[in-house]
């Protein structure tokens, strides 16, 4: 026998911790960790409600399994978006100002390949962490037509 107010209290606590994690982080991946905590609070509440005597249709555990599946799909798409953001801007800081400079840069990209290259060079020079920002661009320039050669280069630099 177990008193169900204990898991209910833990669920409320996890949801509060998740809300703090979403609001207090600048790194986009760490914001996703807060979202995962909120989802787990919902899961624990579903399991708790489902283990009450007389809960119909096994709704608690079944809906928990569904929420776990949806969380897997959600984090896949979210991490793809975060990786694209890192590839374009060189950082995943959600409060960064240089997002404003991407607008004119994209407008300048429409003029042609030459202005595109200079615009990108200015862009990487403007961002604070030049090393982090230049490397993905360099990989894109060197290895963009050859996906097979681009992947080992990226992996090797990630390890180093």
């Amino acid at each position: 026998m177990i008193h169900l107010s204990l898991p209910a209290a833990l669920s409320a606590l996890l949801a509060g911790i998740g809300v703090y994690g979403v609001l207090a982080r600048r790194n986009a991946v760490l914001v996703l960790i807060g979202v995962e905590l909120i989802l787990n609070a919902a899961n624990l509440l579903l399991v708790t409600a489902g283990s009450r005597p007389g809960a119909p249709l096994s709704a608690g555990p079944v809906l928990t399994l569904f929420v776990i599946t949806i969380a897997a799909a959600e984090i896949t798409v979210a991490l793809a978006i975060i990786l694209v953001m890192f590839r374009r801007t060189g950082h995943i800081d959600l409060t960064a100002v240089p997002d404003l400079t991407d607008g004119p840069d994209d407008a300048g990209d429409g003029y042609g390949a030459d202005t595109d290259d200079t615009g990108d060079a200015d862009d990487t020079g403007d961002t604070g962490d030049a090393d982090d920002a230049e490397d993905p661009r360099a990989e894109d320039r060197d290895g963009h037509p050859h996906d097979a050669t681009r992947e080992p280069a990226a992996a090797g630099e990630g390890v180093a």
């Binding site: 209910a8 409320a12 703090y20 960790i33 009450r52 798409v77 320039r141 963009h144």
Partner: protein, 191 residues
């Protein structure tokens, strides 16, 4: 306090403490590792609650897949090793976040604790709920279950398309550059 209450209190304390550490630590990789501890002990909490299938799926999907995916994302975005102050918002926003988190906890607790006060689950008779869950999944919930497989497929294609679309756009507005550079590269490679 029964035995299950004591065990759940211990497992829940581990879950809550590691969750708190995962949102407050200054080291990026440690946040993902504390999340792993939190989700793993939450799987233990599901076991204590008598839902062994949900606990094992939690271990497989969350601990096995999602945390590993988060760690891969941290590696691919070149997360700094060691303590790093730049991963947190300024202290005013953190204070507001802490207040909002505490308010969320207070709101949910004030709603849920009276709802579950005195409610108990008798888990001591040795029964397993897995056959009931399986019959419910493939009986009552079969259409949402099939829809979820479509959702997973859409998420897979969507994640692929998001990364490919931007790559295509990168090559698109530099259309002259890939047209000239690969020809030179191929000539170099063959020559």
């Amino acid at each position: 306090m029964t035995t299950r209450d004591i065990v759940f209190t211990a497992v829940g304390a581990v879950t809550a403490l590691s969750a708190l550490l995962s949102v407050t630590t200054k080291q990026v990789v440690h946040a993902a590792l504390w999340l792993l501890v939190s989700l793993g002990s939450l799987a233990g909490a599901y076991l204590v609650l008598g839902q062994e299938l949900v606990g094992l799926v939690q271990l497989l999907v969350y601990v096995g897949a999602i945390v590993v995916l988060v760690l891969f994302a941290l590696m691919l975005t070149r997360a700094p090793i060691g303590p790093h102050a730049e991963i947190d918002t300024p202290w005013r926003q953190r204070l507001a976040g802490a207040l909002l988190g505490a308010a969320t906890t207070a709101l949910l607790a004030s709603l849920l604790l009276p709802l579950f006060s005195g409610a108990t689950a008798d888990l001591d008779t040795p029964t397993t709920t897995t056959p009931q869950v399986a019959q419910a999944v493939f009986g009552t919930w079969v259409w949402p279950f099939e829809l979820l497989s479509v959702l997973l497929l859409v998420a897979l294609i969507g994640a692929f398309a998001v990364s490919r679309l931007v790559l295509h756009r990168d090559g698109g507005h530099g259309a002259r550059r890939p047209a000239t550079v690969p020809s030179g590269a191929r000539a170099d490679g063959r020559g």
